[in-house]
Amino acid sequence: MTTAAGKPPPTEYRSGWTRGSIKLARVIGSVLVTMLGLLFITFIIGRVMPIDPVISVVGERATKEVYDAAYQEMGLDKPVLVQFFYYLSDVVRGDFGTSYLNGRPVADEIRRVFPATLELATIGTLIGIIFGVPLGMIAAVKRDSWIDQVARVVALVGYSMPIFWLGLVGLLVFYGILGWVGGPGRVGIFYVDIVPPVTGMILIDSALDGQWEIFWDAVSHIVLPASILGYYSLAYISRMTRSFMLEQLNAEYVTTARVKGLSEWTVIWRHAFGNIKVQLITVIALSYAGLLEGSVLTEIIFSWPGIGSYITTALLSADMNAVLGGTVVVGLVFVCLNVLSDLLYSFFDPRAK
C-alpha cells in the first residue's frame, strides 16, 4: 500500500534520533521532487496549449507592437527552462498569475473557492467513515452471510456508478420530487453573501455568527452532495476495512485472545480492529484525496462554488492560468495527504519506530 514498505532496513546501526532525522529528510526530499515534477508537468501542459496566451491578454485586435511588448513582458521569448524557473519562483511566492477572464489573481480566487470544496469533501469523508468502517467490519466478521453480500453489492454499485449521474438522479428525486433537501448551491438564494466569511466554510461561519436559520439552510443544501460523495468513500472504505479485517481475523493472536476467554466483541474491536487502525488511516487519507477530486463533477451538478467548478469553468473559457493554478493546488493537497498518511503510519504503528 505505502511506498515505504518496500525499503530495505538500514544496514548500519545509527542512534534513533539520527535515524529519525535522516528519514524525515528523505521524506521531505521526495516530496520536493514530486512537487517539482508536478509543477513541471503543469508547466508543459501550459506550453503545449494551442491557445495563444498573449492574445488572451491583449485582445484579438491588438497591434503588432502591443503584442510584441506583451510577449516580451510575459517572458515568452526566453528559453523554456528559464520560463520554467520564472513559473517556479512565482508559484513558490504563491503567485499563479491572473485570470485571463476577469483579471483577478488566481491565488485569491482559489483561496476563496477552496473552503467550499474542503467542507464538502470533509463531510463526505465523515459519512464514508461512519458508515463504511462498521459495514466493512460486519462484512468481515460475518463473512459470506447475507450482510456480507449486501456490503459487496453496495460497494460494487458505488464503484460502477457515474457520480455526476447519481447526483442528477439524487437532485431529481430528493429535491425535484420529494422536496426533502435544498437545491443546487450552498445556501438558498436569499442567504447568499450574508454571513461574513471567516473560515470560508459556510456551516462554521454561520454557526460562529449565530445565524442558525442560514446554518440549517446550508445543512439542507450540503446533505445531498455530501451523501453522494460519502457513498463513494463508503464503498472504498468498507471494502478495504473488510479485507484488512479478514487478514487479521485469521491471525494467530486473535486465537490467543479467544483462548484467554475474551468475548467475541473484545476480540474483534480491541484486538483485530486495533491492528487495522493504522492501515485504515492510510485508506481514509486516500479516500479523502479522492473526494477532493470526485467533487469536480459533483460540484458542477450541484452548482457548488468550489475548486472543481472553478477549474471546469476556467477550462471551458480557456483561462489557462486558472486551470493550471487549480490543478497545482489540488495536486499539492494530494501529495500532502499522502505524506501525512505516511507520517501518521509511522507515528501510530509501534513496529515502525
Binding site: A251, E252, Y253, T255, T256, A257, R258, V259, K260, G261, L262, S263, E264, H271, G274, N275, K277, V278, D349, P350, R351
Partner: protein
C-alpha cells in the same frame, strides 16, 4: 476422575470435492500428567487441541461423544459458559510468539487482560500479579518488559511471555501446541523447562503437541502417536522405543541416533490401511487391533 476425557472426536471440513476428515475418532484421557501428542503435519494433532477449546469455526464441524472437563461435557456448554472455561480452566500456548502475541498491544496490557478477564482484581493488583508472573518465567527485567511491545522481544522471550500470559489465570490444563518449534535451538530447552516447572508446581495437566519424538519422549509421561487424523498408538514415554505400530517404528527409524548409528536413515513408509477403521496390521495384529487408548491405561499417576 480424569481431568479431561475426549471420546470419539471428529473434525471435518467441507470442501468442493466432499468432506475432508481431519480428525477421525480420537479418544484419550488426561490426568495430572504430561501427555504428548506426536504426528507429522496434517495428522490432526493441532486440530485436536483446538477442538477441545472449541476454537474451530464454521465451516469446520466438530463432533464427539464427549469432551468432558472434570465430568462436565464442554460440548453442552453455551458460548458464554465456554468463555469461562477458556483461559481460566484450559489454556493454550501456540507455536510462534511472533504471531500469537498482539503486535500493537504492550506486553503488560496483554497479560493483565488475561488475568482481569477471570478475576475482579483492580488494575494495580493485576499489574503486580503480571509482574510476578513475568518473574516466574525467569524474566529479570520485568518492569521494562511489561511496557514493551512484542516485536521488541526475542523469540524465546516472547514464548515465555506467552506462557506467563496463559498461566496467569491458574488453569488446570495447558495445551502446548508446538511451543518450541519456532524457537532457536539454544533456547528451546530453557523455555521447555520453565513450562515444565510451572506445570509441575501447579499440578496441572499438560497436553504437549509436537512433531518431535525425542522432545516428547524426554518431557512427557505418556505419548499418543497420531497419523491421518487418528491415534495409531499410545504408550508410556519411556517405552516409546519399544513401540509396535509400524508407523511409530518408521518414525523412530528415520531419526538419527547416537547409540545405534546407521549408514543410511530409513525413509518413512506409509500405508493407507492405517487410516481405515480397523487397521489389520500384518506383523502384530494381536495387541494392536485397538489402537485407541483404553481408559484404564490413562489412569496413571
Amino acid at each position: 476422575m480424569n481431568l479431561l476425557e475426549v471420546d470419539n472426536l471428529h473434525v471435518q471440513f467441507p470442501t468442493r470435492s466432499g468432506t475432508f476428515d481431519a480428525v477421525r475418532g480420537v479418544s484419550f484421557s488426561l490426568g495430572r500428567e504430561r501427555l504428548g501428542i506426536v504426528g507429522e503435519s496434517g495428522s490432526g494433532k493441532s486440530l485436536t487441541g483446538r477442538a477441545i477449546l472449541r476454537l474451530i469455526k464454521p465451516p469446520g464441524i466438530v463432533t464427539a461423544d464427549k469432551i468432558s472437563l472434570e465430568g462436565e461435557n464442554l460440548l453442552d456448554l453455551s458460548e458464554r459458559q465456554m468463555r469461562k472455561v477458556r483461559g481460566q480452566r484450559i489454556s493454550m500456548v501456540m507455536q510462534d510468539p511472533k504471531f500469537s502475541l498482539n503486535p500493537v498491544m504492550r506486553v503488560g496490557e496483554q497479560i493483565v487482560e488475561a488475568y482481569s478477564q477471570h478475576t475482579r482484581a483492580s488494575r494495580k493488583e493485576a499489574k503486580a500479579k503480571a509482574i510476578e508472573m513475568l518473574e516466574a518465567v525467569s524474566i529479570r527485567d520485568s518492569e521494562r518488559v511489561f511496557r514493551a511491545y512484542p516485536h521488541e522481544m526475542s523469540g524465546g522471550m516472547g514464548q515465555r511471555i506467552m506462557i506467563a500470559m496463559m498461566l496467569i489465570p491458574n488453569p488446570q490444563i495447558l495445551i502446548a501446541d508446538e511451543p518450541t518449534s519456532a524457537l532457536d535451538v539454544s533456547v528451546q530447552t530453557q523455555v521447555l523447562s520453565i513450562m515444565d516447572r510451572l506445570v509441575q508446581e501447579r499440578g496441572m495437566g499438560l497436553v504437549f503437541i509436537s512433531h518431535d519424538l525425542n522432545l516428547v519422549s524426554a518431557f512427557c509421561d505418556r505419548v499418543l502417536i497420531m497419523y491421518g487424523g487418528r491415534v495409531v498408538e499410545t504408550c508410556r514415554a519411556d517405552q516409546l522405543y519399544n513401540a509396535k505400530h509400524p508407523y511409530t517404528q518408521g518414525l523412530l527409524n528415520s531419526l538419527p541416533r547416537l547409540d545405534t548409528p546407521v549408514n543410511r536413515l530409513q525413509v518413512l513408509q506409509r500405508d493407507d490401511a492405517w487410516m481405515t477403521d480397523n487397521p489389520q496390521l500384518d506383523d502384530k495384529p494381536d495387541d494392536l487391533t485397538q489402537p485407541h487408548i483404553s481408559k484404564t491405561d490413562a489412569e496413571t499417576p
